[in-house]
Amino acid sequence: MILVTIITILMVAGLIAWLVSRWNVGLAKWIALVAMVIDFLIVCSLWSQYGVGKITGTGSSTWFIDYKTKWIPDFGIGFHLAMDGLSLVLLMLTFFLGILSVLCSWREITDRVGFYFFNLLWTIAGISGVFVAMDLFLFYFFWEVMLIPMFFLIGIWGGERRRYASYKFFIFTQAGGLLMLLSILSLYIIHGQQTGHYSYDYFNLAETRLEPTTAKWIMMGFLIAFAVKLPMVPFHNWLPDAHGEAPTAGSLILAGLLLKTGAYGILRFVLPLFPNAAAEIAWWAILFGVIGIIYGAMLAFAQTDLKRLIAYTSVSHMGFILVGIFSFREIAMQGVVMQMLTHGISTGALFVLAGMIKERLHTRDIDQMGGLWTSMPAMGGAALVFTMASLGLPALGNFIAEFLTLLGAFPAAPKLTILATLGLVFSALYSLRMFQKVFLGNRLTNTKTMDMSPREILIMASLTIAIVLLGLYPQPVINMVKTVANDLAVSHGV
C-alpha cells in the first residue's frame, strides 16, 4: 500500500500545484517540493526498515513489499506493485533527484509554472511506477505516463529547437514502447494458451515456456524498447537533442532517471524472462555497449554545445551498463546498479551546472565561455568534483561502478572488456577538455556573473555529498542489491 501512496502523492500534488498556480505561483512550487520531500522521507524510512543486515535468505523474501489488487479482471490485468532491493535503490535515486529537479526549476521557470510542476511531478510518478510495477500491462502504462509529461517539459519549456527535440524524443521512445507492447501481448497470449490462465503478472509470465526462436523475437521487442531508452548505439540519436533542448530539470530527469528505466527494464524483464535468449545475444550486446562507450566519448569530445557534450558522455557511460549486464556476473551487476546511481548523480549535477551557466551567460556554446573560475570559484569547485567523477577518479562513486563492471565483465569477454577500458581514457579527454574550456583559460565574456546562490549551493552540496559517499562507502547499496544481483547471475548459471 505504501507504494501506491508514494505514487498517488505525486499525482495528487501535481494536480493541486496546477490548480493552485492560478492564484499563487509560489505555493505551487512549495507543494511540488513538499510532495517530493515526503516521498523521499518515506523511501528513506523503507530503506532503514529493510536495509543492511535485515535481508535473510533468497527466493520470495527478496521482495520487501508486495501489493496486489484487481484492475481490469476481464483482461487478466492486475494492479501489482512490488519492491525489492533494486527498486528501493532506484526509488531512492528518483526522489533524491526529484527534490533537486524541483529546486533547480525554482528560478528558471517563470511562465506557466503550475503546468510545469504538474508535468514534472507526473513524470516522476511515472518513473517511480516503472520501478515498482510487477504487472506488465501496468508497467507499460507507467512507461507511457512518464513519457507524455516529459514531451511537454521539452516541448514547452525547452531551448530553441525544442519542438524538433520533443518530437524526436517521443517518436523514438514510443516506437520502442509499441514493440515492447507487442512482445508483452505475445507473451500474454502464449502463456494463456499454455496454462489456460490469462494474466499479465510478472511472476506468472516468468513461468512461460518458450520455443527458442519465439523467445528470441519476443525478447527483441523488449530489448529494443529498453535499448532506445538506455540508449544503446545506434538508437541513441534522440538523446543529444532531447537532453540539449530540455530545461535544466528536464535534462536532470532524463539523464538521471529516464535512462535508468532502460537499464532497469533489461535487468528486471529481459534477463529473468528470457534467460537463454539473452545469453545468446550477450556477445553482441556487449559489443554494442563497447561501441557506445567509445563512440559516445568521441562524439562528446567533438561537441561545442555544453549540454550536448554532457549528453554524449551519457551515451558513453551507459555503454558500461550494457557491458556489465550482459556479462551475467554478480559483481558486474552490482557495478551496473552503482553505475546507475552514480551516473544519475554525476551527470545530473553536470546538467544542473550547465543550466546555471546558461542562466548567467545565456549560451550553451563552450567556445564563448572560459575563465569562469575567476568570477565563480564555488561553481568551479563543484564542477571540478563532477568532472572528476565523470572521468572516474577513485574516491568518487563512478570509479567504483566502472571498476566493478569491468572486473565482472573481464572473465566473460576479455577482449571487449579491454576495449571498454579505453573508455576511461577517453572520458578523461572529454571531461578535462570541457572543464578547461569552460572554467580555465582566458575570460571571454564581460557579462557580470554571480557565483552560486544559497539555493544552488544547497543543490550542489547535496549532490557532492552523495557522490563522495557512494565513492567511499558503497557497501549499503551493494548489500541492498546483493540478492537481486546474485539471482540474476545464478539464473544464467555463472
Binding site: I148, F151, Y167, I171, I189
Partner: protein, 480 residues
C-alpha cells in the same frame, strides 16, 4: 410480423418517426431550438427503447432483419453518436446562412439508414439501408449550398457513391447467382453444402469490397475522403466519420461472421492488403497536412485500416475488439469535431492549424479536451484509444496475424508525428486569433462545452477502467 417482432423493432420505428416528427414541427413553424430539443428527446427515447428491448432479444424478423446483442451495441453507438452530432449542429447552423431546420430531417434519415445496416441480415435490407444513408448524406454534405467547397464535396460524394452502389448491386447479383439466396444465412448454408468456393462467389465478394471500401474510405477507395471531410459542414463531417462508418462496419461484420469469410484465404488476403494499405497510406498522407479536417480524414482512413485488422480474425474476440475500438474512436472523433465546431467562426471553419496555436493558454479546457482526443487517436495509454488498439493487437496476435499487426504498430508511430504537431501547436506561444467572439445562444454553447468535457472524461475513464464496458460488451455479444 408478430407482436414480439414488432416490439423488437420499436427503436427503429421510433427512429423513422423522428424524421416525420421533425417535418411536422417545421410545418408548424417551430423554432430551431424546439426542433433541436425535440430531436434530442427523440434520440433519448430511442436509447430508452433499446434498453427496453434488450430482454426480448434475440429476435429475427424474417427475412430482412435480425435484432440481437450485436445489433443493439452498434445501434446504441450510432444513436449516441447522432445525439452528440445533433448537439454540435445547433451552435454551428444557428449562425450559418442556411435555414437549419430541414437539416435535422436528413440527419435522422441517414441515422435510420445506418441503424438499419446494423440489423440487416439480407442483401435487400443491406442495400436499402445503405441507400437511405447515402442519399441523405449527399444533401447533408452540400447543405451549405452557397459555399463552393460544400457543393464540390457533395457532388464528388454523389458521383462516387452512386458508382459504388452499382458495384455493390453487381456483387450481390453475382453472389445471388452463385448461391441462389440473398439472406446471409442462406448464402452461408449454400456455401457449406458446396464445399469450397466458386469463382463467381469470390468475384462477387471482390466487387462488393469495392463498395464497402468506398463507404469506409479504405485505400485505394479513399480519394473522396479528404475533400468531403473538408467541404462538408463540421457536424456532418463528424457524422460521416462516425455514424455512417459504424453502420457499414456493422453490416460488414455481420456478413463476414455469417458466411465465415475467414475460411476463404483469398478474400481475407484482399482485406488484409486493404487494411495494410489503408494504415500506411492514411498515416503518410496525414503527415504533411496543416488542415485539421483533412488531417482527421486521413487519420480516419488509417483508423479504419486498424479496424479491418480486427475484422480479419473473424471471431468473437475480433468483434469485441472492434466494438470497443469503434466506441473509443467515435467518442474521440466526436470530441475532436466538437472542438472544431466550438472554434469555427461564422465565415470560416476552424480548420487551419494556426487557429489552434496557443489554444491552451486561452481556452485551457478546450485544449485539454482536444489533447486527450488526439492522444486517444494516437493510442497513448490513459485514453480509451490505447485500450482499443491494445484490444485489436491482442485479437490479431491470437490469430497469428503478425504482418498486419506489425504494420499497425509501425504506422501508429508515424501517426504520432502529426498528432503531436497539433498538440504542440496548441501548447506553443499564442497568436492573436479571432475566436468565436459572441455566441448566439449561451445555453447550447455551454451544453456543447459540457458535453465535450464529459466526452473527454469518458475517454480517460475508459482508458483507465475499460472493465466497466468490456463486461457489458461481452454479455451483449452472447445474445445472438
Amino acid at each position: 410480423m408478430n407482436e414480439l417482432q414488432f416490439n423488437a423493432l420499436l427503436p427503429y420505428t421510433l427512429l423513422a418517426t423522428a424524421s416525420i416528427v421533425v417535418i411536422l414541427l417545421i410545418a408548424f413553424r417551430s423554432t430551431h431550438t424546439l426542433i433541436q430539443v425535440v430531436g434530442f428527446l427523440l434520440m433519448c427515447s430511442v436509447i430508452f427503447a433499446l434498453v427496453k428491448v434488450r430482454p426480448l432479444l434475440p429476435v429475427t424478423v424474417p427475412p430482412l432483419f435480425q435484432i440481437d446483442g450485436f445489433a443493439l451495441l452498434f445501434t446504441g453507438l450510432i444513436i449516441c453518436g447522432v445525439a452528440i452530432v445533433g448537439l454540435f449542429s445547433y451552435i454551428y447552423f444557428e449562425e450559418r446562412e442556411e435555414n437549419p431546420k430541414e437539416y435535422y430531417i436528413l440527419l435522422f434519415l441517414s441515422t435510420l439508414g445506418s441503424a438499419l445496416l446494423a440489423i440487416s441480415n439480407h442483401f435487400v435490407s443491406f442495400f436499402i439501408g445503405l441507400e437511405i444513408l447515402s442519399i441523405s448524406l449527399y444533401a447533408l454534405i452540400g447543405y451549405l449550398r452557397n459555399r463552393n467547397n460544400a457543393v464540390e464535396a457533395g457532388m464528388k460524394y454523389l458521383v462516387l457513391a452512386a458508382m459504388s452502389s452499382a458495384f455493390l448491386l453487381f456483387g450481390m447479383a453475382l453472389i445471388y447467382m452463385d448461391t441462389g439466396s440473398m439472406a446471409f444465412q442462406g448464402i452461408a448454408d449454400k456455401l457449406n453444402q458446396a464445399h469450397g468456393t466458386s469463382l463467381m462467389f469470390t468475384v462477387g465478394i471482390g466487387i462488393m469490397v469495392v463498395a464497402i471500401g468506398f463507404k469506409l474510405a479504405l485505400v485505394p477507395f479513399h480519394l473522396w475522403a479528404a475533400d468531403v471531410y473538408q467541404g462538408a459542414p463540421v457536424p456532418v463531417t463528424a457524422f460521416i466519420a462516425t455514424v455512417s462508418k459504424i453502420g457499414v462496419f456493422a453490416v460488414l461484420f455481420r456478413f463476414g461472421l455469417a458466411v465465415n469469410l475467414q475460411n476463404y484465404p483469398l478474400v481475407i488476403n484482399i482485406f488484409a492488403t486493404i487494411a495494410v494499405a489503408s494504415m500506411i497510406i492514411g498515416n503518410i498522407l496525414a503527415l504533411r497536412q496543416s488542415n485539421i479536417k483533412r488531417l482527421l480524414a486521413y487519420s480516419s482512413i488509417a483508423h479504419l485500416g486498424y479496424l479491418i485488422v480486427a475484422f480479419l480474425p473473424g471471431n468473437m474476440a475480433g468483434v469485441e475488439a472492434s466494438v470497443f475500438y469503434l466506441l473509443a474512436y467515435s467518442i474521440t472523433l466526436l470530441s475532436a469535431f466538437g472542438i472544431i465546431t466550438m472554434l469555427s467562426t461564422r465565415s470560416k471553419d476552424a480548420e487551419d492549424i494556426d487557429v489552434y496555436k496557443g489554444l491552451f493558454w486561452k481556452h485551457p479546457l478546450l485544449a485539454l479536451v482536444f489533447t486527450v482526443a488526439l492522444l486517444s487517436l494516437a493510442g497513448i495509454p490513459l485514453t480509451a484509444g490505447f485500450i482499443g488498439k491494445f484490444y485489436i493487437l491482442g485479437a490479431g496476435l491470437q490469430q497469428h496475424l503478425y504482418f498486419p499487426v506489425l504494420v499497425l504498430v509501425l504506422t501508429s508511430v508515424i501517426g504520432l508525428y502529426y498528432y503531436l504537431r497539433v498538440i504542440s501547436a496548441m501548447f506553443s506561444a499564442p497568436l492573436p486569433v479571432a475566436l468565436r467572439e459572441k455566441t448566439t445562444s449561451p445555453l447550447f454553447y455551454n451544453s456543447t462545452y459540457i458535453a465535450l468535457v464529459v466526452l473527454a472524461i469518458i475517454l480517460v475513464g475508459l482508458g483507465i477502467f475499460p472493465g466497466i464496458v468490456v463486461e457489458d460488451i461481452r454479455t451483449l455479444l452472447t445474445v445472438r
